[in-house]
């Protein structure tokens, strides 16, 4: 009875996850979709606590421990999620993702120790009904590896987005990573091969243990050592895998690690024959992978090159293909004039705006310009900001109206009729090399064709190339003028100047 009610709970959970994800793809229904998924999750969690039955244990014990943990986790979770600034969102997602990975990793550790202890218990006369197959051992170790890689990787990604951890690239890093990966796979295969399965067939091979008891399995110290060896290697790989990847490439990595954690959760689903973990995990695994590929496409990168971190290496070896030539600077008051008397202004926000947290100032500028009768719109590149869609969230937070945000294709049609394009901390997404220079690493990436407009004002902190490490010919074009400085400061000054006109 209980167990069938629980099955029903899991069915509800699985369906709400699917509906939730589906609704998350539509702007109007997204919020409701999120709440529906949250509801399904609560049903599945409460159902598990109160209704779950094991083969030998009737109900789950240790409810006190579980509830204490739920309350502590819940309070910290709500607090952290409410407090965090909108600009720090990617870090937060990465952090939460790491927590999920760590959770999957711990489950595998406990489960393996549990199986080991069950083997000993048999000798002391306990009824032993647990049957462990090779497949389950495989699932345990997979959950361990994927969870650990996801955890370690997410922590590094979190540190990088925070600026605590710097990019570390050294010679032979790719080879080293490859060796670690090989070692990891090798050790894990050895583990699955040597760890004995407890099944009916093995029941007659009773082995004596040192403490005088007997058991059917021989999960002994050596297997534990290999197990922890695999864990250490997986954690190391997680760190090494994210370390060389550039900070601006983190969204792709987080999205990928996100789908990893999904797969780790699905491993748990296999282990406990649990449909809701399985569907939830695999759904996220598949959706996350697709999202990762979409992001890579938008940046014209292959997933493979992100994975081995070759982009960072390339950026170091060949950034200095100088376009040369002169760029001209523009004074604040001139820029203010240009903007104030334009008919149509298009703002191109980028990573620099997000870093400077200048979205509110940017909105103020927009309001002042509109008061002066200027038509102001925003051109949003799919990968602008620190994550795809992140720029939209940032501008929405600053109360910029939804209709003013143009997607790339619409924006490209409108640049022809635009008087002034104001680029705020964007670089690679407006680099014409993506269209003209087949030798460029970003060749083929769709860009915002800002050069179609009459004038272009670029706000950057310096002439340093963007994260792709390539020069931008746009800056040297006669219609382009540079306005150096931190996006927020520049916007504030610009705002004051425009008000004075």
């Amino acid at each position: 009875m209980n167990i069938s009610v629980l099955t029903l709970c899991y069915l509800v959970g699985s369906i709400t996850f699917i509906i939730g994800l589906k609704m998350l793809s539509h702007p109007e229904r997204a919020r409701r979709g999120n709440l529906i998924a949250a509801f399904g999750m609560s049903v599945a969690i409460l159902g598990t606590i109160f209704l779950y039955e094991d083969n030998d244990v009737h109900f789950l014990g240790n409810k006190g421990v579980i509830f204490t943990a739920l309350v502590i986790g819940g309070i910290i979770g709500v607090f952290a999620a409410k407090k965090i600034k909108m600009t720090a969102m990617p870090e937060m997602v990465s952090l939460f993702n790491g927590m999920g990975g760590a959770c999957a990793m711990l489950i595998s550790i406990i489960e393996f120790n549990y199986q080991k202890s069950m083997a000993f218990n048999l000798g002391t006369g306990n009824v032993f009904t647990e049957v462990v197959s090779k497949g389950e051992i495989l699932v345990i170790i997979l959950g361990l590896i994927i969870g650990a890689v996801s955890f370690a990787g997410s922590m590094i990604a979190w540190g990088k987005l925070n600026g605590v951890i710097k990019d570390k690239i050294f010679k032979g890093q790719r080879i080293l990573n490859f060796i670690i990966l090989l070692l990891l796979v090798g050790t894990a295969s050895v583990f699955v091969y040597v760890t004995p399965a407890t099944s009916a067939e093995l029941n007659n091979t009773v082995m004596p243990f040192t403490d005088g008891t007997y058991g059917t399995t021989a999960i002994v110290a050596v297997h534990l050592y290999i197990f922890y060896g695999v864990l250490a290697l997986a954690l190391l790989y997680g760190v090494m895998f994210v370390l060389p990847i550039g900070g601006a490439d983190m969204p792709v990595v987080i999205s990928l690690l996100n789908s990893f954690t999904g797969v780790a959760a699905a491993c748990g689903g296999f282990l406990y024959n649990n449909q809701v973990m399985l569907t939830g995990g695999i759904l996220v695994g598949a959706a996350g992978t697709l999202l990762t590929i979409l992001m890579c496409k938008a940046m014209n990168r292959s997933l493979g090159s992100v994975l081995i971190g070759s982009f960072g290496a390339k950026a170091v070896s060949g950034p200095s293909k100088t376009t040369g030539g002169h760029y001209k600077e523009i004074s604040l008051s001139d820029a203010a004039m240009l903007l104030g008397y334009a008919n149509k202004v298009m703002i191109v926000p980028g990573y620099g705006l997000a870093v400077a947290q200048a979205q509110h100032t940017c909105h103020d500028l927009e309001k002042v310009l509109i008061e002066k009768g200027v038509d102001v719109k925003y051109a949003i590149h799919p990968v602008a900001g620190r994550m795809p869609g992140h720029m939209n969230v940032l501008l929405a937070e600053a109360d910029v109206s939804y209709e003013k945000l143009l997607e790339m294709d619409t924006a490209n049609d409108e640049f022809r009729t635009t008087d002034v394009v104001l680029i705020l901390g964007a670089n690679d997404v407006v680099n014409p090399a993506a269209k003209n220079d087949p030798g460029s690493p970003i060749y083929g990436m769709p860009i915002l064709e800002v050069e179609l407009a009459k004038t272009v004002i670029v706000n950057k902190r310096s002439m340093k190339p963007g994260y792709a490490g390539i020069e931008n010919a746009l800056f040297y074009q006669p219609k382009t003028s540079m306005l150096f400085g931190d996006a927020k400061k520049v916007l504030e000054n610009l705002l004051a100047e425009i008000k004075n006109i």
């Binding site: 497949g135 979409l294 992140h390 109360d399």
Partner: protein, 106 residues
């Protein structure tokens, strides 16, 4: 090898679920506008927090004198809850802003 095949045989339902879920996952988010990528990632992040159910089961199964399992299990449930609760709340916060935005200009 044989036992792995047996495992597949025993879990064939599960394997069907996996395969169908993969296609479903891809299909379901296939047409998401880029505006919603970040909230979607965050929402998916919260959903894989379903791993907490495994943590609850493993903690619940532990003998009450097995402190190793209890402590790790406790940690696992805390981390899983963080993932679930934090994930859903953050997603809701992001989407809240989109919603209020849609109404005002019309």
């Amino acid at each position: 090898m044989h036992s792995i095949l047996t495992f597949f045989n025993d879990h064939i339902q599960m394997i069907y679920i996996v395969i169908l879920s993969i296609f479903l996952g891809i299909e379901v988010i296939g047409r998401v506008p880029s505006v919603l990528h970040t909230p979607l990632m965050s929402g998916a992040n919260a959903i894989h927090g379903v791993v907490i159910i495994g943590a609850i089961i493993v903690t619940g199964k532990a003998q009450s004198d097995n402190y190793f399992a209890l402590i790790l299990g406790f940690l696992a449930v805390v981390l899983g809850t963080l993932n679930v609760v934090g994930g859903f709340v953050v997603t809701d916060r992001m989407l809240e802003m989109f919603k209020s935005k849609k109404k005002s200009p019309k």
